[in-house]
Point group: C2
Chain length 343, copies 2
């Protein structure tokens, strides 16, 4: 055996007995060469470990296999989890995904997109910051680079949107809460960064009205991505008041609820559905930690897998059709109600 170092495709072509252009063709698409040549190449590939220089490849190809995955805040386990799924699907689809987080900062989001441009990506999967995003910047980006939006929608931008159906979340939680006890008041941030929050509030009001109940929206102050702390402080403020709007609180999202529950615990309030309880608390997202809150959180779950799969499938279509789809589609997956102990 002579495992001498292969320096480039030229040398590798030599040792495998195939011409370099054919080898190049093979690496672009192994099925584009005759079966027998493919086998010969793959045999050589086992004897000599050679991998084409990725920089040279990307430089000369008009289109790379790079895919950018951009999320607004990676330290939020919700995004970490969905990023994990999407990454996996991208690899299965033959892409080279790279993960980016804007960490809540619109400037960083813009910078990520800028540097992404330079990577000639086949496509980008973008979960934008939302309200804080530089919309015109993102719009321009989407015009140049095939982009799928996921999780939070920016009207009209990108080739498609894949996310969860906020109305479905609300309808299920509100319906359940109304059937099982006092109708819920809605607990949310006054200035939510995420557009889903607005959709949820609107859906809440509509659903409550359709059930013949008076909607009650509680807005708490606070900015940024420290939702737990915001929920906690908001809960303290709320619980100080002489009378609650309802003894059932429906939080806009699980991270707020986690903070809310911690405040309740500290105040000595019992949360749950028993008669001996002071409060019921429910929420949305099925955050990875919602199972471990005290009490465990009744919530509505995203279909992580469906969103991830569909996002990557749509991206694949988009790439294969040359970066344009006939029409911008919006795919919304329904929620799944998760009944736990908090409501």
């Amino acid at each position: 055996m002579a495992p001498r170092k292969i320096r480039n495709m030229e040398e590798f072509a030599a040792v495998s007995g195939i011409s370099r252009p054919t080898v190049s063709k093979y690496f672009n698409d192994p099925d584009s060469v005759r079966r027998s040549t493919r086998e010969r190449i793959e045999q050589a590939l086992e004897r000599f470990d050679y991998r084409p220089n990725i920089f040279a490849m990307n430089q000369n190809r008009k289109l790379t296999k790079n895919v950018g995955i951009v999320v607004p805040y990676l330290a939020d386990p919700f995004f970490a989890e969905i990023a994990r799924n999407i990454e996996e699907k991208c690899i299965e689809a033959g892409f080279r995904p790279t993960l980016y987080s804007a960490y809540g900062d619109p400037a960083q989001e813009a910078e990520i997109l800028d540097s992404l441009r330079a990577l000639k990506p086949a496509g980008v999967l973008l979960a934008p910051l939302g309200r804080d995003s530089d919309r015109s910047f993102i719009e321009k980006f989407c015009k140049d680079i095939p982009t799928i939006l996921f999780d939070s929608n920016l009207e009209g931008m990108g080739a498609a949107f894949v996310g969860s159906d906020n109305a479905s979340f609300i309808e299920q939680t509100v319906d359940y809460l109304c059937r099982s006890g006092e109708p819920p008041a809605f607990f949310e941030m006054r200035h939510p960064a995420n557009p889903n929050a607005n959709k949820r509030r609107i859906a809440y009001i509509k659903k409550m009205e359709s059930l013949g109940f008076e909607p009650q929206v509680i807005k708490v102050d606070g900015r940024g991505w420290g939702f737990e702390e915001i929920g906690r402080q908001g809960a303290f403020k709320l619980l100080e008041q002489p009378k609650l709007p309802s003894r059932t609180i429906l939080c806009s999202n699980d991270r707020l609820a986690i903070g809310f529950l911690s405040a309740c615990y500290e105040k000595g309030l019992r949360v749950g559905l028993g008669d001996d309880c002071d409060l019921r608390v429910a929420s949305h997202d099925d955050h990875p930690f919602s199972k471990f809150t005290c009490p465990s959180l009744t919530t509505a779950a995203h279909d992580y897998t469906a969103v991830s799969n569909r996002s990557v499938e749509t991206l694949t279509q988009l790439v294969e059709s040359g970066g344009r789809l006939s029409a911008r589609t919006e795919t919304l997956f329904p929620a799944r109600l998760i009944l736990r102990s908090s409501a």
Copy 2:
């Protein structure tokens, strides 16, 4: 104004009135050219937006500015948080960081390192999986690519290790717990993936003995990265037993403690330091959510900032000294005790 598209460095050099090699030099290090030329280039840079082709740059440079940041599990907020810090520092230091997660899988860890090789990184910041890592593979990688290990140490590998001082964590929590009540039993996974866990157990035993107490180690079953669930199930098992080894439980890490607390809550046990409480629970890491557990978790905090800063500083030194340091250093930062309600 003639904002015509600049196609390459040649054209940009033309419009800025400078020769291409000098422009190239400028982009490698803006301070390597005369002040006046630098200003002329930067003027042109404002009129024409041009950025050198990153692929061509990286192909020809022997060393890129790329830095890989590899963590074992990005959906763990602890790693997400430290990754965020390190990423920021890398950018400040002029690197181009890219974030990777092995998601608990040694094969993926190896694959990441393999593809990282192809990126000719200036250096890599690696938090290895630990026990599950393919040690010889990582060792080989460290020989080829300048690598700094952080968070969890693999003896002798990499140019340096930067992490937290597990003994300091344990000493502070054990000391506090012993002073304030019954000496703690240590609660951990039977087969911890992370080498820090072993160091913590050993430090626990040593510290207890030095204080004249009998160490009690509780080992719970379970594999993988679902620590909360493992802690929860372990707690249920433990609490079923007729008698606890101690009414003070010191968990090896916060994620186990989060699960432990959720089990206690479900069992109706009061956790805290009051006389009316059944149990005290403390832990280590100051996980981002430990403030919001019920009760809030007494724990020992990593110095995230110090670890991040030192890691990147060490990497910078390593890169500047051509990939070799005179000796392998191990830097350990002490913990900071965070007293909350659980113990």
